[in-house]
């Protein structure tokens, strides 16, 4: 069972308390009704499926219930870092090659 650090509770908790919520950093347009088909397709249907680093949303559903963002390596399943919802995509990852 993975341990995941909730950036709001500021501690590691077991995976059972969390639920994955899909890819992170996909913002809903403030003018969604006027969005082109292509843009809506990108927003709603197209998702990255990387082998390696993925940016994704998690919810601490059986804890503080907050949604947050995480960076995870899909090969090792290791969480590289977690950060609060609304914060920008980290420019540099801890432990990343220089």
């Amino acid at each position: 069972m993975l341990l995941i650090r909730c950036p709001y509770c500021e501690e590691e908790r077991p995976e059972l308390e969390f639920r994955n919520a899909g890819e992170a950093h996909i913002a809903r347009s403030t003018n969604i009704a006027g969005e082109s088909d292509d843009d809506f397709e990108k927003f709603f249907f197209i998702r990255a499926n990387p082998k390696g680093v993925i940016y994704e949303r998690w919810r601490h559903i059986h804890g503080c219930a907050r949604f947050f963002n995480a960076v995870r390596d899909t090969v090792t399943d290791k969480f590289i870092m977690t950060y609060k919802a609304g914060e920008p995509k980290p420019a540099k990852l801890p432990g990343a090659a220089k």
């Binding site: 341990l3 009704a33 919810r59 399943d77 609304g86």
Partner: protein, 1002 residues
């Protein structure tokens, strides 16, 4: 009375404490502390089982968890018949009953052994070749026959009466394995004060010190030192010592699963004792000290009872005081078998000869064996074992060929060397590396915070093992926050090795007796009956990867997971392929290390505790009225309330008719309820639902539809506005959690600027629906402070006040089409208010109705149920609910999805009503609909039935269906082909009762 092969003065068991037991209905006597294996061997019993495929007689190969052969059934009673128990780990208790497996009619005479003679039919991959044609025969003939023939033990037929405990634990240092290495590591870690857990699969700690007579630590015999060290560890507050506990799985982030056998070794465990306990341990650092497993020699008939690992014979002698024979032969390719020969010789057992495959080995154990007068043959091989139910001889030949000599023996001890137990390391996702010099896989690259020490790390010799393990234990503890203990002196200092034995090399693969070209049965994998020939054959038939060889031959795929066979199989394949071993690869080690019972994994989560059951406040009342319940998610809901003599249809007919004529009470508490509160509550509702909310007056309700971003219906429900900043939202029963999640998701991440709070209030309010023409008369006498007249409280309104003296949120709404109310009261008062309403209802002749009548009543009015009449591909327009989508709105979740080209295309499936031409025929829900029943199969299906019931109110069947272009087909005849004939239907509107909606105020 001492058993024939028990040697007085040998071993550590107290001969005074006897235990009687039976094996295949014959009674024997053993000693407390025996395993079933040692007790049988003490009585001279070697034959204990029949092999899986060829039904060959089998005895004990080992004295531990790696045992592939000696699988027995332990029977406590009818419900406790555990199959495939390794006799080598089953501790003896007085009265133990064991039976052999996979034989008929008896162990000594087994009809299935004909398979051995017919073995050419059963060579590698025979399943894939033999049972191919005809195709249908696999399911009907081959598979059932094979399954019946192949099973080992017999499952008990009754439910398991035992209970299984579970514990979570955390520690800084978890030490897996309690031999010399594990104990040394635990001592070092414990001294630092951090929390330490030490676990070992055996009843007693010591690992190989159980048989290593030459080990001396801190001035004591190795095993005695181990017991003293364990006593010391047990006395420390920061240490937990777990015996009989197997670490079976190593998971992410140092999460280790262990199973503790709590009572399988007890004569009559009390009910208060669990049978097993699952430990789920999260450790900061893990020290793996799992030792090594001795390999057998691969030669013809090496499976005869009496042929066993040298270390096993030594364990039986030095720990249990049992000689495995009276005239013993030894076949080895390394030094450690010499120590077994020496120990046995000193105990008075004749050693017929040592046969050593090596040409000119030298060393102290060889000298000692020679000095004891044991015949030693270098450069020779045992090419075959004689005997059938028990080994009777060994045939010896120079390893490069030449004259054979047959030596009578009653046991053969063999050792091909030691395989480091890298199972747990490998499970931790560490990568093993092959050491070309020592020809073994050892831990290479680590993936987690763990370290391997001792024999499992390829460390040879007791001295080096203790050094390495003690340092690793100290380091792990220090890294996990403990103090530095490496320089410790006095108590808790590094144990001093006065004398120890040394591991040495050996060989991998088949010996000369099983050389290329031979068809003899030289077993590599005993449990799955895989021979050296099978592995060669797999290579010849084109298998190149060891993963393919494994699956083709089933080598290493039995319950022992190839603990003794994997390296031999790999070496033979590599040899045949002419490739170095690392290029052929090593198969993956997977959890569990040894078989784990389902009971220990399931624990208490079975029966009523398997899944939570949710009951509403009126559950007890409904049960007392004889309600039949149905499961809706985790909820138990009253399905219908049959009177004496009524079946479900009669009860539902009565309930439905009475509701429309008089009235009825229905428990709607399971509907999800969410309170949306805050200055921006209306704005939030505008974004989450298709409907307009800003202008909804306080005290009024509206039917809301929630979409996903793709435009499809996600949920629906009636929403009441209690105050300008407060909405009481209801959801479907099953949708409550996901709607809450959906709302929170948008509130937290897309619309965080909105000042809104969401609270699930599903459990806070019990909801009693009172429906029917008399509903107001039933409720009114109990209500205070609410004017319930049509003028003051029209359809789709909500009021707060009191009922029966307790607070209520009283909704006027209807899911039946009749005048109706939903009485929300705090859940604690739910049953009391229900009973008061029931008493009032009785005065008018109202009924209690269940979910089935609720379904029929709403279908009569064409009210949809999300998830039944919609399936995640239905838009509001498809469902005929376009009126609920705010046309002037510029944003809501799903607004863009609704304009997708395929969602506005013509010919989409639309919800319509269906009437069967024969009113008595009730369609089947899910049945497919076609326009032309005479078209060839496969027919073009244009829709399906979503809801279908007998409507007593209509005197006919009614149905709802999704049909392509359905609203343009009104009056059309369509067809529903069924197995027993095609049903003709007419497309109609969705409202079957009171089309004008007059009953809402009737």
């Amino acid at each position: 009375m001492s058993a024939a092969f028990r040697i007085s003065g040998a071993g550590r068991l107290s001969q005074a404490k006897t235990a009687s037991f039976s094996f295949d209905d014959k009674s024997y006597t053993g000693i407390e502390g025996d395993t079933l294996a040692s007790a049988l061997l003490a009585n001279g019993v070697h034959l204990v089982g029949r092999s899986f495929k060829y039904h060959r007689p089998r005895g004990f190969l080992s004295a531990g968890a790696e045992e592939p052969n000696a699988l027995v059934q332990i029977v406590r009673d009818d419900a406790r018949k555990t199959p495939n128990v390794r006799a080598t780990v089953q501790e003896l208790y007085d009265g133990l009953t064991a039976n052999s497996q996979n034989r008929w009619p008896s162990l000594a005479f087994d009809v299935g052994a004909v398979n051995d003679l017919a073995s050419p039919l059963f060579s590698a991959g025979f399943y894939y070749k033999t049972f191919m044609w005809p195709k249908s025969a696999w399911k009907n003939l081959y598979e059932p026959k094979i399954r019946a023939a192949a099973g080992l033990g017999v499952s008990p037929e009754k439910p398991d009466p035992d209970h299984y405990a579970a514990r979570y634990a955390h520690c800084e240092v978890l030490v897996l394995g309690g031999g010399a290495a594990g104990i040394a590591a635990a001592l070092a870690a414990a001294e630092t004060g951090v929390r330490v857990i030490l676990a070992d699969e055996q009843a007693e700690f010591g690992g190989s010190l159980r048989f290593e007579s030459g080990a001396k630590i801190d001035g004591e015999n190795g095993f005695a030192w181990a017991q003293a060290a364990i006593a010391r560890l047990k006395a420390m507050d920061n240490v937990r010592v777990l015996s009989r506990t197997t670490a079976f799985g190593y998971y992410a982030q140092n999460f280790v699963g262990l199973v503790e056998r709590v009572s399988d070794h007890l004569k009559s465990p009390g009910r208060e004792l669990a049978r097993e306990r699952l430990w789920q341990v999260r450790a900061n650092r893990v020290v793996i000290a799992t030792g090594a497993i001795e390999r057998h020699m691969v030669f013809a008939n090496n499976d005869r009872p009496g042929v066993m690992l040298a270390s096993a014979a030594r364990t039986y002698l030095n720990h249990y005081g049992v000689a495995v024979g009276k005239n013993v032969g030894v076949y080895t390719a390394n030094d450690s078998a010499y120590a077994a020969a020496i120990d046995l010789k000193k105990a008075g057992v004749n050693i017929a000869a040592i046969v050593d495959l090596r040409d000119n080995p030298a060393g102290p154990v060889i000298d000692e064996a020679r000095a004891l007068g044991i015949e030693i043959n270098f450069g020779r091989a045992v090419v075959s074992a004689g005997g059938k139910l028990r080994v009777s001889s060994m045939t010896v030949q120079p390893k490069n060929g030449g004259g054979e000599r047959t030596i009578p023996v009653d046991a053969i001890l063999m050792s091909a060397g030691w395989t480091p137990s890298v199972h747990l390391f490998s499970q931790s996702r560490g990568k093993v590396a092959f050491n070309d010099e020592t020809r073994r896989f050892v831990p290479g690259t680590y993936a987690q915070d763990c370290v391997s020490v001792g024999a499992c790390n390829g460390t040879d010799g007791l001295d080096a093992t203790i050094d390495e393990a003690y340092a690793a234990g100290a380091k792990a503890a220090k890294e996990a926050g403990g103090k530095d203990s490496s320089g410790k002196t006095g108590k808790g200092a590094k144990p001093k090795v006065d004398a120890g034995e040394s591991w040495s090399r050996g060989m991998l693969g088949a010996g000369p007796g099983a050389g290329p070209g031979t068809t003899v049965k030289a077993f590599v994998d005993f449990q799955n009956d895989v021979t050296a020939k099978d592995i060669r054959q797999a290579v010849h038939e084109g298998m190149r990867s060891i993963e393919h060889v494994k699956r083709f031959t089933t080598n290493g795929m039995a319950t022992d997971q190839g603990k003794t066979s994997n390296m031999h199989g790999l070496a033979i394949a590599a040899d045949e392929l002419g490739k170095p071993i690392p290029q052929v690869g090593l198969t993956t080690f997977r959890a569990p290390y040894t078989p784990v019972t389902f009971g220990s994994i399931v624990g208490h989560a079975r029966g009523a505790l398997f899944d939570p059951t949710r009951r509403t406040a009126t559950h007890g009342w409904a049960a007392s009225q004889g309600a039949v319940f149905e499961d809706v998610g985790h909820w138990k809901r009253a399905w219908y309330f049959p009177k004496a003599g009524e079946d479900m249809h009669k009860a539902v007919d009565r309930e439905c008719v009475t509701v429309r004529k008089v009235g009825g009470l229905f428990d709607a508490s399971t509907l999800g309820k969410i309170e949306v509160v805050g200055p921006d509550a209306a704005k939030f509702m505008e974004l989450l639902y298709t409907n307009p909310w800003e202008k909804l007056e306080t005290g009024r309700c509206r039917y809301g539809i929630m979409l996903r971003e793709d435009g499809f219906i996600y949920d629906d429900g009636v929403v009441g506005r209690l105050a300008p900043d407060r909405f009481h939202v209801t959801t479907t029963t099953g949708g409550a959690p996901r709607v809450m999640n959906h709302m929170e998701d948008y509130l937290q991440t897309e619309f965080p600027h909105l000042n809104v709070w969401l609270t699930s209030i599903t459990e806070q309010w019990a909801v009693i629906a009172v429906q029917g023409p008399k509903s107001r008369e039933i409720i009114a006498p109990l209500v205070e402070g609410i004017d319930m007249s049509d003028e003051a409280m029209p359809h789709m309104s909500v009021r707060e006040g009191k009922i029966c003296g307790v607070p209520t949120r009283l909704f006027r709404m209807s899911f039946t089409g009749e005048r109706g109310f939903e009485v929300n009261v705090p859940a604690d008062y739910g049953e009391a208010v229900w009973e008061a309403l029931w008493a009032e209802g009785q005065k008018h002749g109202a009924v209690a109705y269940g979910t089935e009548s609720m379904h029929v009543l709403r279908a009569e009015k064409g009210y949809i149920i999300v998830g039944q009449d919609t399936d995640g591909t239905v838009t509001p327009n498809d469902a005929g609910l376009d009126w609920a989508v705010g046309k002037k709105k510029t944003d809501f979740v799903g607004i863009r999805g609704l304009t997708r080209s395929d969602l506005v295309a013509k010919g989409r499936k639309q919800l319509v009503g269906l009437k069967t031409k024969d009113p008595k025929v009730v369609l089947e829900e899910g049945a497919q609909i076609v326009a032309d029943p005479k078209q060839p199969i496969p027919m073009k299906m244009i829709g399906h039935v979503t809801s279908s019931y007998w409507s007593e109110n209509c005197g006919r069947s009614i149905a709802l269906a999704l049909v392509a272009g359905g609203r343009d087909r009104m009056g059309e005849t369509l067809y529903v082909p069924m197995p027993n004939g095609t049903v003709e239907v007419e497309v109609t509107g969705m409202v079957f009762v009171d089309e004008k909606g007059e009953h809402l105020n009737g």
